[in-house]
């Protein structure tokens, strides 16, 4: 047993932990949890814990029914939920086949594979997400009353005695107590909308952190009698919730995106990485924006990007190169603005990384910077400037993804296939709906 495992077992003893939740993520990015007693943990480290994978989304191949969960002791955390005393702890798990090889259906493994590929090229991948979400007065039940935000404030507004304020303080305390560093938090554009920025970390830890983050936010909201949602676009009149994510590649201790004296201090590697993100942006959209509702946010105007462009301080661009801080040579990074707060972070980071690496390997040429707000241009102007749009809907995004070798190879054929099938079903279900819009517009007239 290694030191980390010993640490886990010792802590469990010392802190009187009665349950350990083994966490893993299904292909759609939903957190799954299996609780085990501490006594079973030693065995789980050594051999994994068997479970029936056939009922979990995306793990459903018959011969994979028997699967193993092997907890990663580096992710051990005591859950600070109120009222859980004696305590509960959690660890993220790798999904294994019965012979101990990694399961092809494990999103965590998908990301690990992409990171290994980056490592072979000498790169490590860091991410820094800014996660937006809405706080609602009460949970929503299908067909129930329209959702109501907890406040009526705007961007950076300080709301005296605001629910959001208390909420953020409680949430950040809890996040910090779980070892997730918070960089920044504030109220954003829409009523009830908040943003919390996580301090940058390597992509795998960050993906684990995002899964934890969403759970924590929802738990804290529940404790305060409100409801938190990461739905991309709950209100048509307000901006949606994105997860703008800053990406950087390091070669050893050096920031591979940084080159002193280059335009925006952006190295060739950085330019090629962006070029890769842009060229493969349409085919990866179904992963970074995986819900029907995601495209309502992308095409809702405002700060959401709907076109495959990049720019320096252009908030309508898919990729933004933020202001470089002269004192921090290591801080060169790029910001991808399309991602949903409700994506599967493992798969999302994996496809973004692979698309960027493809740009580096293929030495892609970066197209010209777009300085204008893409929303303000006419169709002809956009055509003249060679600006391609992101897919207009989930259905369109799936068509693009279906043709993509890049996504298939990144996700692996199994996840790729399952994802497409599942999402096509979602798209079909959606298309069958008769919406409020149609009723309101057509019934009076037709």
């Amino acid at each position: 047993m290694d030191r980390q495992q010993e640490f886990v077992l010792r802590t469990i003893e010392e802190r009187d932990i009665r349950f350990v939740r083994l966490w893993f993520t299904d292909v759609l990015g939903t957190l799954k949890s299996v609780a085990v007693a501490p006594a079973e943990l030693e065995g789980a480290f050594a051999e994994g814990i068997g479970f029936d994978g056939s009922s979990i989304e995306g793990l459903s191949r018959v011969y994979e029914a028997d699967m193993l969960l092997r907890p990663d002791p580096a992710t051990f955390q005591i859950l600070p939920w109120r009222g859980e005393n004696p305590g509960t702890a959690r660890m993220f798990c790798d999904l294994l086949m019965p012979d101990g090889s990694p399961s092809v259906a494990d999103p965590r493994h998908v990301l690990q594979r992409a990171l290994t590929k980056a490592a072979e090229l000498g790169f490590t991948f860091y991410t820094h997400p800014e996660i937006e979400f809405f706080l609602l007065k009460e949970p929503y039940s299908p067909g129930g009353r329209a959702p109501v935000p907890v406040d009526e404030a705007g961007y950076f507004d300080h709301v005296p005695h605001g629910t959001g304020h208390d909420f953020r303080r409680a949430a950040i305390t809890m996040l910090e107590s779980m070892g997730i560093s918070v960089e920044f938090s504030h109220h954003v554009g829409a009523p009830g909308q908040n943003e919390i920025d996580l301090r940058y970390a390597d992509a795998l830890s960050m993906a684990d952190n995002i899964m934890t983050f969403r759970t924590v936010i929802k738990e804290v909201a529940l404790e305060q009698g409100i409801y938190a949602t990461f739905m991309p676009k709950p209100f048509s009149q307000y901006p949606g919730s994105g997860m703008h994510t800053h990406l950087s590649l390091f070669e050893g201790d050096t920031n591979a995106f940084h080159e002193a004296g280059a335009p925006y201090q952006l190295s060739t590697v950085g330019r090629q990485f962006i070029a890769g993100l842009l060229r493969h942006g349409a085919e990866t959209a179904a992963v970074t924006n995986q819900w029907v509702n995601s495209y309502k946010r992308l095409w809702g105007g405002g700060e959401a990007p709907a076109h495959l462009t990049w720019g320096h301080n252009n908030r309508s661009a898919l990729v933004r190169v933020p202001m470089y801080k002269p004192t921090k040579g290591q801080s060169s990074r790029i910001e991808v603005r399309s991602i949903d707060a409700a994506c599967n972070p493992y798969l999302t980071f994996a496809v973004l990384l692979t698309a960027g690496l493809k740009g580096i390997e293929g030495e892609y040429e970066l197209p010209l910077e777009t300085e204008d707000d893409a929303w303000g241009l006419t169709d002809s102007e956009r055509r003249a400037m060679g600006i391609q749009p992101l897919p207009s809907s989930l259905g369109r995004a799936l068509e693009m993804m279906e043709k993509s070798d890049l996504v298939a190879e990144t996700l692996g054929e199994h996840v790729f296939d399952f994802f497409l099938r599942n999402k096509r079903d979602e798209w079909e279900d959606y298309r069958r709906q008769v919406t409020q819009f149609e009723l309101d517009r057509y019934l009076p007239r037709l």
Partner: protein, 1015 residues
């Protein structure tokens, strides 16, 4: 002749490669006092001494350089050269006298340019050469540690002091090695001294690290465990030094603090040894054998090591630990570590996955080396040094569990112990021992020259000459050393036979004369480690094959040690051995069989590999063992053409009067031919297209011969004379038979057609139809009877009106039907129609009849195209069996065989009328033409072809592997491995097979969408 000329001649005779330069150099002022230029005789003089060096020219040049440096150091005032100092005087004196001092100096100067360089910088070290004495481990350790002490190292940095001292001691070791009378016998001594020297350097490096760390370093007790050749006490001149660090807190210190200090010390030690300074570097210190490899912490406590080895370690790590040896640092701690770890090593053979791990490790060891180097490699590849070391370690792991006498860390000691304990034959051990020493000695001499890490035999004449002379070969040294090397390498290449298998055979055969004595238990353990899953069964087979005094048993006793190795390399060694036993029991007394195995070169290897790889071939062979003769015949693996087969079958059937007997004869020829095809396929001699054609030819020949038998039978029943049936029959091959793309499990899709003979007396059309039907029914009955061979299924469902239609029609009736009733899909099916048996004229007329149907003038109407697409879409949703995965189903799945064939057929239907090249029955041929004419774009054609070929190969390989067809890509790892090897994938690559198929078929589906569905 001038005097210089004479001298040159003498130098040439003495072995100098460049006599003129030698003569010039001997006149160099630096050598004044050593050589009398006027002295005519060289007897006993310096030149003759130099001539004994491996490279006399090098030795002479080195000598000049060393003496020049010493001269340059004389204290002098301008114009007045100073007097030689004591070093120089003594050196000159040593060189002027015969004796060991001079021999050593000359040997070192002539054996290593790198050491000449060192002596040229540090000429005072000549004494270490001249006065070399056998070092001791303790002595070396004390010398090096003392040399790096702050007080002792003078103006040198600690790093430089370590390097200078290390080379100084290396000079002594080299001097003794190069002057030993029998260098090959001396090898273990030299290798051990080199290991001691490395350990001493590690100790000194640790001292430097502790000094650099400063106060607080004593908080950590640190032991350096030597691994690999260092741990084994058998180091090379230049090699990475493998280590593991073990740390424990000193008293009253926290573990955390101790590990912190320990890491710093370990890093310091590694830097002290491997950093390049003005004095060079020693060697890289490699700590990657530690738990978790590169990613693990550099130092661990004993408990942490133990915990890792309890839970996570892989078999290869235990194998590596076999060499663990306390090399430096805290010896008490090191010993405690070894005591804690060694139980794991000796229990490794009992762990789960031991066998699989060993197989994978063996593959890595034998992995072929870059082709350019393969012929020159001393270390890698089959029969290389690493192979020997691995084989011995494997036997140590397997047998050392029960027998502590085998637990030596040193290769040659372990080999001797294995021989002593009766685990390998004494003669075999002695042969290997000698070969190993020689290869290592060559490696040492090659490395010594420039102190570079290399394991390649040199190629140039001067290098080979020096190498030969360095091990004492004086006559034509360049050729002699190559010959010697190759003769030893040949011995080593048979290492597995010698070490692993021969003792097993001795045990199985219970030979009393053998000098090995494996118990039944030991033999089973060894068989298991070599990959036999049912070791007890394998032992029984071996006993049955080798016991007794028969000629067969005697021959098999010599054959099996080699054959077992081939079985073990394949996916199913147990099945291979069992099948071999059964074949041998059938044929063992037949003279040609044993002769073939013994004398026919590759026959025995082919047999072993085929049997260990394919249940299908093994089953067939067990049923007709005499077919094994195919393997002994050079032309045996070339499939027969349909014409050749037709002749053989007709004559075989003609000898039988009974129809059933005639068909049995035909079928037994088919069995023989199936074996030929599968042997050729399994040994990689027949590409996929060749297999499909050969199987179709064979089916055609069987149909033709069986049709003749059936006609004869009906003539008898109808009581008409031979040839007076009144109607001619032909068999039209459809599907993969027509396309000559059959697989092992394919049915023969056929249409039967007949044509009443004009003017035949007493036969109306009705009679002719009745008789034709009788013939076809008889044909199906005869071929459908069960027998010892895989059945050839006859499927006539593609006939007009399908199952409801008459089994055979007249040509006129076909014409009428196709004109009036036929649907588009029937024309599509006719694309692959090809006469395969019966009356050739009728066949040709049938083909002429259908030409305008299958290659419609003007192509297809849009309605017809829609019909075909619709039909295909329905097939996709309806035909896929319940529960089958639509992605991985090889035939009906997305991008599978059906997708590709329909896509190609649609192109044929639409364009064959104006692209004659499309008028072919083979899918792959038509696809090629469609690509060449631009009807299918290049990338799509590539994707379609790749998917079709992979799917067909997988179907074929599945039949070969387990004897039965599969519908989907095998997901069971063993099946995937077995099938994967047959289609030429690397062993152990099973998990990637499905992923690869899914990728290829996904692309092919995209091409189908584009070119078939037009989307």
């Amino acid at each position: 002749m001038s005097r210089a000329g004479t001298v040159s001649g003498q130098f040439a005779r003495l072995g100098f490669a460049d006599p003129d330069r030698a003569s010039r150099l001997l006149g160099d002022p630096a050598l004044v006092g050593l050589v009398d230029p006027l002295e005519g005789t060289f007897h006993d003089g310096l030149p003759e001494a130099l001539s004994r060096a491996a490279d006399p020219d090098l030795a002479l040049l080195g000598l000049v350089r060393v003496l020049e440096t010493l001269k340059a150091r004389r204290p002098s005032t301008p114009g007045h050269p100073g007097a030689p100092d004591v070093e120089e005087r003594d050196l000159v004196a040593s060189l002027s006298r015969r004796g060991p001092a001079r021999d050593r100096l000359v040997a070192v100067l002539g054996g290593s340019t790198a050491l000449v360089d060192h002596l040229a910088c540090h000429p005072e070290h000549w004494r270490c050469v001249a006065e070399a004495t056998a070092p001791t481990a303790e002595g070396l350790r004390a010398e090096l540690v003392a040399a790096v002490r702050r007080g002792a190292r003078g103006e040198h940095s600690a790093y430089d002091a370590l390097r200078i001292a290390y080379r100084r001691e290396l000079l002594s070791v080299t001097a003794l090695d190069l002057t030993s009378p029998d260098p090959v016998a001396y090898l273990p001594v030299a290798a051990e001294q080199l290991a001691w020297l490395a350990e001493a350097a590690l100790e000194a490096g640790l001292a430097i690290a502790r000094e650099e760390f400063g106060s607080g370093h004593e908080d950590c007790r640190l032991a350096v465990i030597g691994m690999g050749k260092t741990g084994g006490g058998e180091l090379n001149y230049v090699s990475d030094v493998d280590v593991i660090f073990v740390a424990e807190p000193a008293e009253g210190v926290s573990e955390e603090r101790a590990l912190h200090v320990g890491s710093a010390l370990a890093v310091g030690l590694m830097k002290a040894c491997s950093t390049s300074t003005a004095e060079g570097c020693l060697w890289p210190v490699d700590a990657n054998l530690r738990p978790e490899g590169k990613n693990g912490p550099l130092v661990r406590t004993i408990a942490s090591h133990r915990a890792y080895y309890e839970r996570w370690a892989k078999t290869w790590e235990f194998q590596a630990l076999l060499k663990a040896w306390v090399s430096a640092g805290d010896f008490d701690l090191g010993r405690a570590y070894k005591d804690a770890i060694s139980p794991f090593v000796w229990d490794a053979a009992g762990r789960d996955h031991f066998v699989e791990d060993v197989q994978a490790m063996r593959r890595r060891v034998e992995q072929h080396v870059p082709a350019a180097e393969a012929k020159r490699q001393l270390k890698l590849g089959p029969g290389g040094l690493r192979d020997v070391e691995f084989a011995i370690q494997l036997l140590q792991l397997v047998h050392g569990r029960a027998d502590p006498s085998l637990r030596s860390a040193t290769t040659l000691e372990a080999l001797a112990a294995l021989a002593k304990g009766g685990y390998v034959g004494r003669d075999d051990a002695a042969t290997l021992d000698e070969a190993y020493r020689l290869l290592r000695t060559l490696e040492h001499r090659i490395q010594l020259h420039r102190l570079r890490r290399t394991h390649l035999m040199p190629t140039s004449e001067p290098d080979l000459r020096r190498l030969g002379r360095s091990i004492g070969l004086r006559t034509a040294p360049a050729n002699a050393v190559v010959e010697l090397w190759q003769s030893r390498a040949r011995e080593v290449r048979r290492i597995h036979e010698r070490l692993f298998y021969r003792p097993l055979l001795n045990a199985a055969a219970r030979l009393t004369s053998a000098d090995t004595s494996l118990s039944a238990e030991q033999a089973r353990a060894r068989l298991q480690a070599l990959g036999f899953r049912d070791a007890a069964g394998a032992m029984r087979h071996l006993q049955s094959l080798t016991t007794g005094v028969s000629r067969r048993a005697a021959i098999q006793r010599t054959l099996l040690p080699v054959m077992l190795g081939w079985f073990a390399d394949e996916a199913d060694p147990d099945a291979g051995l069992l099948a071999f036993r059964r074949v041998s029991e059938e044929l063992g007394t037949i003279h040609w069989y044993l002769k073939m195995l013994r004398d026919e070169g590759s026959a025995a290897e082919r047999l072993a590999r085929v049997l260990g790889r394919s249940r299908y071939a093994a089953d067939l062979l067990v049923r007709s063992p005499e077919s094994v003769s195919i393997l002994g015949d050079d032309r045996g693996l070339v499939p027969r053409t349909q014409e050749q087969l037709a002749v053989i079958m007709r004559s075989a059937a003609g000898r039988k009067s009974e129809p059933a007997a005639a068909v049995t004869a035909i079928r037994s020829i088919r069995r023989h031919e199936l074996l030929r095809i599968s042997f050729a396929d399994l040994t990689g001699q027949l590409p996929l297209a060749g297999v499909g054609r050969a199987l179709a030819d064979l089916a055609g020949a069987v149909l033709h011969a069986a049709l003749e038998v059936a006609v004869r039978r009906v003539e008898e029943l109808e009581e008409v004379a031979a040839g007076a049936l009144g109607t001619d029959l032909a068999v039209i091959g459809m599907g993969s038979l027509g396309g000559q793309e059959m697989g092992y499990a394919s049915d023969a899709d056929v249409l039967f057609v007949h044509r009443p003979r004009k003017g035949a007396t007493g036969t109306t059309d009705e009679v002719a139809q009745r008789r034709a039907l009788l013939v076809v029914q008889e044909l199906r009955r005869l071929l459908g009877a069960s027998g010892p061979d895989p059945q050839l299924g006859i499927d006539a469902d593609l006939r007009p009106e399908g199952k409801g239609g008459p089994l055979v029609r007249s040509l006129v009736s076909y014409a009428a039907y196709y004109e009036r009733w036929a649907l588009t899909w029937e024309f599509q099916a006719l694309l692959r129609a090809r006469p395969v048996a019966g009356d050739p004229g009728l066949g040709a007329d049938f083909v002429a009849l259908i030409a305008p149907l299958r290659w419609p003038p003007g192509g297809l109407s849009s309605t017809q195209v829609r019909d075909i697409r619709l039909m295909k879409a329905r097939v996709e949703s309806e035909r896929l069996p319940r529960g089958a995965d639509r992605r991985s189903h090889l035939k009906l799945g997305l991008g599978g065989i059906t997708d590709v064939e329909w896509t190609v057929q649609l192109v044929q239907l639409c364009h064959a009328h104006d692209v004659p090249g499309l008028r072919v029955t083979s899918t792959m041929a038509a696809l090629r033409v469609a690509q060449d004419t631009g009807l299918i774009d290049g990338p799509s054609a590539h994707d379609l072809r790749a998917a079709w070929q992979l799917a067909i190969s997988l179907r074929n390989a599945s039949v070969l592997w387990r004897g039965r067809p599969v519908d989907c890509v095998p997901s069971d790892l063993r099946d995937a491995d077995g099938v994967g090897r047959i289609i030429g994938r690397a062993p152990g690559d099973g998990p990637a097979l499905e992923e690869d198929y899914l990728r290829v078929s996904r692309r092919s589906r995209a091409a189908t969408d584009l070119h078939f569905y037009g989307a």
